[in-house]
């Protein structure tokens, strides 16, 4: 695994169990096949506050940045 990928992996450790559960499923299913660009989008998305991120994942808030749309779609399936 590249160093970039490993750094992003640690950013998936969150304050909310809700997100840990969704991210764990996502990591198992999708993480290894993310291309570099999507990985960068994910890293950017993970800079959000936990509550903001959770709201976007559960659909109660709209996706706030165009570049997150793809990876949010994957998280929503998790």
């Amino acid at each position: 695994m590249t160093i970039d990928r490993k750094r992003v992996l640690w950013q998936c450790r969150r304050a909310l169990l809700e997100l840990d559960l969704v991210l764990a499923r996502f990591l198992e299913r999708d993480f290894d096949r993310l291309d570099e660009e999507t990985l960068a989008d994910l890293e950017d998305l993970l800079r959000c506050e936990d509550h903001e991120l959770w709201a976007m994942v559960n659909g109660s808030a709209p996706c706030a940045k165009e570049r997150w749309r793809g990876v949010l779609g994957l998280l929503r399936q998790s």
Binding site: K6, R13, R14, A15, L17, N58
Partner: protein, 597 residues
């Protein structure tokens, strides 16, 4: 091998509510303060706290700290230390108003005061009627609190070391604490943080259980580090099971839902809490509600195909109330239970939530151990606050909203004590022993060199299953005895964990292996302390210690009104007295009584 060293007046491990509150006290006093944290401060688990923080402000209903103290002592099933409880309840208004001044956006009443709502176990006039004592910022109390504290710390020049994992406590030949070793994740290097004072604020270890409301980060690192350094752990048999975790997922549904009128029902739709707690009903203390739910399930009145959960019903509340006062609940319920709570009740089960025990401290935040016949002798240079510490204000059972209060009051108190100890010259920078980093380096070298070892994931799973099966809501002598053998076997396996990735930079596998070293200490302490305590008290309820006239609720004050101390070395148990005397001589002790709601 030479290890880099950094020097500070104080090093704080943990940037949740407790760590940030302590850091603020130190930095504002002009001390050079380092805060280490595994994740960005505002990603600490305190963010998850939804329900609120307790303070007897009396904004919505009449209230005072004596009533709060009574509720807390009773909630603790008299195992809480009354000096620390008095201290906490008396300080509550001060620390909450302080937070308001730091910019915390509390909900407001129409006349602009902090809005307060009822919460389980909190009452007016010594148990007469529910009281509105919880101060909240919508359902983001913890989040708002951390942000307010973090901003304030940045202003005060607290130095943050983010994505650093503390590994071990450094003690010298006198037993004094001189700092910690820590691993920088970005480089994989180990470094020594040398300081006059070390404060642990590492949060809880709820991940020792299979079913838990806690995020993955709650691995009990501070508690594990303390245990490895020879500090005993206090009252580790007491774990709070939150009544309402979403069945199957663990995600918490806040008690605020019941505060706003939510009702628990069994398979026949009965509001069963009326039978168990006629006065406070669904708002009785958490252990009482969890046990009632477990009894309903065990006696065949659970819901669903396997009759293994009960229902939390808010369908009678106005949808606007749910949206306004409990916004997050709907999304959680839809995502993890597949039901919309406006239309259908939510399936819930009691789920491991909070660690009442921890590193023994006094109300000043000093870590205390038995020494030369004195049960509470301070360890020089060592302090702790928040969920990792045991002050002990929660005793055998914590009341909801008292934990955020605990971390504000004792975070601040630990900070104040350090400032004072440094000012009067009680603390100096003692020279580091030559072997200061050896234990940590040896742990890492062991992982590096391990072959034919055990998978971290598998051992972790075995630990969680063992704890869930043998030390759950209801406890049985035979299961506990088997549990001790089982957990010691798991602990053996934990000494042979192997990671495939031996790289240094951002090696999360290594971090998880090191975390497991801490979790397993907590798990052993819990099982061994629980097996030994032959009574029922608060959250520790044994099948063979039932409610009898001689032992109401199964509690045996003659033999067991005492704190457990577990030492890692030889799994030795010791006990120390509960402080039944309040701090001030003009405050009457809360006399022992049967705990009923």
């Amino acid at each position: 091998m030479s290890v880099a060293k950094r020097t500070f007046d104080a090093v704080i491990v943990g940037a949740g509510g407790a760590g940030l509150r302590a850091a603020l006290q130190l930095s504002e006093a002009g001390l050079k303060t380092a805060v280490l944290t595994k994740v960005f401060p505002t990603r600490s688990h305190t963010v998850a706290a939804q329900g609120g923080v307790a303070a007897s402000l009396g904004n919505s209903t009449e209230d005072n700290w004596h009533w709060h103290m009574y509720d807390t002592v009773k909630g603790s099933d008299w195992l809480g230390d009354q000096d620390a409880i008095e201290f906490m309840c008396r300080k509550a208004n001060e620390v909450v108003v302080e937070l308001e001044h730091y910019g915390m956006p509390f909900d407001r009443t129409d006349n602009g005061k902090i809005y307060q709502r009822p919460f389980g176990g909190h009452s007016q006039n010594y148990g007469q009627a529910p009281v509105s004592r919880s101060c909240a910022a919508a359902d983001r109390t913890g989040h708002a609190m951390l942000h307010a504290l973090y901003q304030r710390n940045v202003r005060a020049n607290t130095q943050f070391f983010v994505e650093w994992m503390a590994l071990d406590l450094i003690r010298d030949a006198d037993g004094d604490v001189l700092g910690v070793t820590a691993l920088e994740m970005e480089t994989g290097e180990v470094c020594i943080f040398h300081a006059k004072a070390t404060i642990f604020a590492t949060g809880g270890a709820g991940r020792i259980y299979y079913s838990s409301t806690n995020a993955f980060i709650n691995t009990g690192d501070g508690v594990g580090m303390a245990a490895r350094a020879g500090i005993p752990l206090e009252d580790m048999e007491f774990w709070q099971f939150h009544p309402t975790g979403v069945a199957g997922a663990g995600v918490l549904i806040t008690e605020g839902v019941r505060g706003e009128g939510g009702i628990l029902r069994n398979a026949s739709g009965e509001r069963f809490m009326e039978r168990y707690a006629p006065n406070l009903k669904d708002l009785a203390s958490r252990d009482v509600v969890s046990r009632a739910m477990t009894t309903e399930i065990n006696e065949g009145r659970g819901c669903g195909p396997d009759k293994d959960y009960v229902l939390l019903d808010i369908t009678h509340l106005a949808p606007e109330t749910i949206m306004k006062r409990l916004p997050g609940i709907r999304e959680i319920s839809i995502q993890f239970a597949g039901v919309d709570p406006i239309k259908e009740p939510i399936p819930v089960v009691p789920t491991c939530h909070y660690q009442m025990g921890g590193i023994p401290t006094n109300y000043k935040g000093q870590v205390v151990v038995p020494k030369d016949g004195e049960p509470n002798s301070p360890v020089a240079g060592f302090y702790a606050a928040g969920e990792c510490a045991c002050a002990s204000v929660h005793g055998a059972n914590r009341l909801g909203t008292n934990s955020l209060l605990d971390l504000l009051v004792f975070g601040k108190s630990a900070g104040e004590t350090v400032v004072e100890d440094i000012a009067v010259g009680n603390l100096s920078l003692k020279p580091l022993p030559a072997d200061a980093a050896d234990a940590s380096l040896a742990r890492i070298a062991r992982l590096e060199g391990q072959t034919n070892g055990e998978s971290v994931h598998e051992v972790g799973l075995a630990m969680r299953r063992t704890m869930q099966k043998h030390a759950g809501v209801f406890r049985f002598d035979g299961l506990l005895k088997e549990g001790v053998t089982a957990i010691l076997e798991v602990a053996e396996r934990a000494q042979r964990t192997e990671i495939k990735d031996k790289s240094k930079v951002w090696n999360t596998a290594r971090v998880e292996a090191l975390e497991l070293d801490n979790l397993i200490e907590v798990a052993k302490a819990t099982m061994i302390s629980a097996e030994a305590r032959k009574e029922s008290r608060g959250a520790h309820v044994r099948d063979d210690a039932p409610d009898t006239p001689e032992f109401p609720n199964g509690r045996n004050d003659n033999e067991w009104l005492k704190h457990t101390l577990w030492y890692r070395d030889g799994n030795r148990l010791d006990y120390k007295p509960v402080t039944l005397k309040p701090l001030s001589h003009d405050v009457d002790p809360i006399a022992l009584a049967k705990r009923t709601y």
